[in-house]
Amino acid sequence: MILVNTETVPGKEITAFQGLVQGNTIRAKHLGRDIGAALKNLVGGELQAYTELLSEARQEALDRMVAQAEGLGANAVVNVRFTTSSVAGGAAELYAYGTAVTVV
């Protein structure tokens, strides 16, 4: 599965459009992580637990989007976008979407 955030796949030609595909995941911030973050807020620096959480969430959303594209028989997703939203205090959504296509 080829994923790009451009409108075409460079060097390849789109022969069919399968339509919009999407994947999302909502992660809750557990208390332990918030306490760790509060301590880190004294001295600053990278919050590695959250960086990992962010990349896991990104991968999960992409995987779900790819599964949908595979179900439609696509071999690429173009124009992929990420967006985030706060559903409620303590929970955050990461949403990936794009257009499933067939390229040759």
């Binding site: 080829i2 911030k29 509060a38 960086t51 962010l54 992929v80 985030t84």
Partner: protein, 148 residues
């Protein structure tokens, strides 16, 4: 009265700790970014969608980099004062710029691992999975162009 003095002493101590440790860590991070940006300079990063003329693209691959950076107590303290009088919050400005540079570098490092020297259509996104405390959370992504 004694309680007030104690509270002030604790706050002053945390501000001092935040200033000393926080600015030491910030200096280290900036030096690290400078070093890695020199190494990453061979990769062209643009936010236009087209592959520049003269480069024959063989394919594209989504690459991304993310980071969550916390503010130190000194930064938060200054920002709280800044909130009273208004104006530019310089301490947070440096934190955000560090986070964007770090996310961009991680994306470039992913592109280089794929053997790509060009990333097009780069976007910065503010993500929101992190803590409720003051922090900068950046997701940078784009399409790494691979040669045929």
């Amino acid at each position: 009265m004694a309680g007030l003095v104690l509270a002030l002493a604790i706050t002053a101590g945390l501000v001092l700790l935040g200033y000393l440790v926080g600015s030491y860590r910030e200096r280290n991070h900036l030096a690290d970014l400078d070093r890695r940006e020199v190494a990453a300079a061979s990769v062209i990063v643009v936010d236009v969608k087209q592959t520049p003329d003269g480069i024959t693209a063989g394919g594209g691959q989504l690459v991304a980099g993310g980071v969550v950076i916390a503010a130190d107590y000194f930064k938060s303290f200054l920002a709280a004062w800044r909130n009273l009088i208004g104006g530019e919050v310089k301490t947070y400005q440096t934190m955000l710029s560090r986070a964007r540079r770090e996310a961009r570098l991680r994306m470039i490092e992913e592109a280089r691992a794929l053997g790509s020297e060009l990333v097009v259509n780069v976007r910065f996104e503010w993500s929101d999975v992190g803590p409720r405390t003051a922090s900068a959370e950046i997701l940078c992504y784009g399409t790494a162009i691979t040669r045929s």
